[in-house]
Assembly symmetry: C3
Homo-oligomer: 274 residues x 3
């Protein structure tokens, strides 16, 4: 199965993505959504967010730098986008690091049906344990994914995907993207991406564009976005010149998304389905 | 008439520009104002904005990501800047996309006399229709400017400029910058600029610096800024290396503004006055 | 005395730095903290900031774009970080430019014991005069530091450092970093750094990481961070290609921090201790 079709749909349909996101990485999120072929719009005042989301195709809620004004915006826009059948992604930045972040993410999950939840292992574990749907999975063993815990981690993300009823994307050195039946195990990317702020936020932005443009294939489209981001990290790195570091690397990753072709994606994606 | 004098005045006077702007593109707005020779300052708390605007030479109000806290700041700073005779520009980002944005822009226009309003065709049309001063102009025909509708669009922007009493800048593939008498028709720029977030916001920032430094020539200075931004898009594009995309292109545009000379501007500006 | 040990401690300990900072330059602050070896986190909602700061090693409070929501966050996080013995830095952006900024900075200084205050000459002078601890120092003579006023400015910063009981960093063409006994006079950097937005904010971010990683040597670690930032400005400038300007220069400075070694720092630092 080729992943390039999901990218082509983004390029053809150019979905409009409403982002309620943190102010640290918002500019990079906007530029990477444009790079992949979507259109970004940001609105986080409750009244404005409620209206703006109605003209969009997808909603990306990222709780980093949440506040008393933006939290109600997340709920109002989320409810409306859900009612309209838009693509819905939750990026629970910092869930587990503060009760405000943890509780906001969990309350959003309760009230709004997200298509995809994407986070690192610590955030995903926090949400899993807090959501109460443990179904016998031993979450205490949940950790960064590596080859020795791969089997149990695949079971964990499939179990969480089943209990909550969405795609779960647990990203890290090895990325797992699963629904209740299938789990993509993805090995694209480079560790140096962790030295750039916002690679996770950027990925969530393009994943929302991918699921908005491929509503019938949310798991596969999500996996395609994750492969593409990792591959962009590999391509961007290959363009680095002597003396360049994380600031330029960030731009070269966005550039690589901009220049990504279906052929590059199909040739460069490193994954297996379990 | 040479446009370079307007740039030279920015470089010589280094106007201090107060920006109440969205958090998506604010960093690029600050850097491009510095690149063209001005100085940026941002303040959007009502009390702080009221004081800060008093030490400035111009005020750039951009309603993207407006909220309940920043809207009063726009009015308070706008009234004060108006009272002090500062250069005043409105960038009605997303007017027409939500009632909150539309109404805020229209209310600002009613209460504060802007020197320049700069937007795309959809935003400008929304403001024209909402401002009630239709004066017999058929706004239903207002659309992106192209060669086949050029004559009627020139009449439209001149009519709007006359009824509201400001410079109207309708930017797109062809840019129109008009007062009631004269309309600059500008053909600089590249379509790839639309794949970068914030080129419009950046343009509004430098336009505010241009009108602040050239208070007696607001139309011509506005047109000079529009030509310069488009030309920077052309120069920046010429510097792109293989593998580079929208992220690097953004920086190369700001770089081109930084290195712009009066000679480059006069040689590269492509406009006629109608 | 070698400065490289202070950088090495940042790289080894990777302190987690909580930044309550302005939205203009926040992305650059995050990336430069990552570049120097620290980890950034941003939270500015009062409840969230209070919790987040507890898992960190240092707190960087920057009052640019302060507002009614973030000011209480600065106090709550500041008190908690102080109670926990975390590294604490104040960047009084725009103190003197509005009463809200001046008063917030002075109130923060009264209630919270900062380890370092870093600002330009105008900001530092405002805080000195407002803090009431003039101790006979003639602040009317306080100005940008140059060779002709160097002796008196050194006395001034030492006096301020003694009266307030912190490190005072007055940065400009010549940087002074002093406690009550010793003053580093630093001559790294380039004037073109002033054409980039946020070089001061970025410096405050890495200074917080340096004092967090070197709690027993706050003066020397602060001076090391100031030397490194100036040196990165020199190295970054040397990498500029034809046609590049302030946008790319910003990234090349962050890149230079990313690639900085202890040897580069020790060889390139230009300072004397007075």
């Amino acid at each position: 199965m080729s992943l390039s079709v999901y990218l082509e749909n983004v390029r053809t349909k150019s979905p409009l993505i409403h982002n309620i996101t943190n102010y640290v990485t918002v500019n990079d999120v906007a530029n990477i959504i444009l790079a992949c072929g979507g259109s970004p719009i940001m609105a986080d005042d409750p009244d404005d967010a409620y209206e703006i989301t109605q003209i969009c195709n997808g909603l990306n809620i990222n709780i980093g730098t949440l506040n008393a004004r933006t939290i109600p915006s997340m709920f109002r826009a989320g409810h409306k986008a859900s009612e309209l059948g838009h693509a819905l992604l939750l990026d629970p930045v910092g869930a587990g690091a503060s009760s405000r972040r943890t509780n906001t993410a969990l309350d959003l999950m309760k009230e709004i049906k997200f298509d995809v939840i994407r986070g690192n292992s610590s955030e995903i574990k926090t949400l899993f344990m807090g959501s109460g749907n443990t179904h016998g999975v031993d979450a205490s063993a949940v950790d960064a994914v590596n080859d020795s815990n791969l089997d149990s981690m695949i079971e964990f993300v499939k179990g969480f995907a089943k209990s909550y009823g969405s795609v779960i994307a647990l990203t890290g050195a090895i990325d797992l993207v699963a629904d209740s039946q299938r789990c993509y195990v993805i090995r694209n990317g480079r560790s140096e991406m962790g030295r750039i702020t916002g690679t996770g936020c950027m990925l969530s932005g393009i994943m929302t564009a991918f699921i908005a443009a491929n509503p019938e294939h949310k798991l596969d489209a999500s996996a395609a976005a994750v492969c593409m981001m990792g591959l962009a990290g590999e391509i961007g790195y290959s363009y680095l010149q002597p003396g360049e570091g994380n600031a330029t690397y960030r731009d070269r990753i966005i550039n690589a998304i901009y220049n990504m072709t279906g052929e590059f994606l199909d040739e460069g994606a490193k994954y297996e389905i379990r």
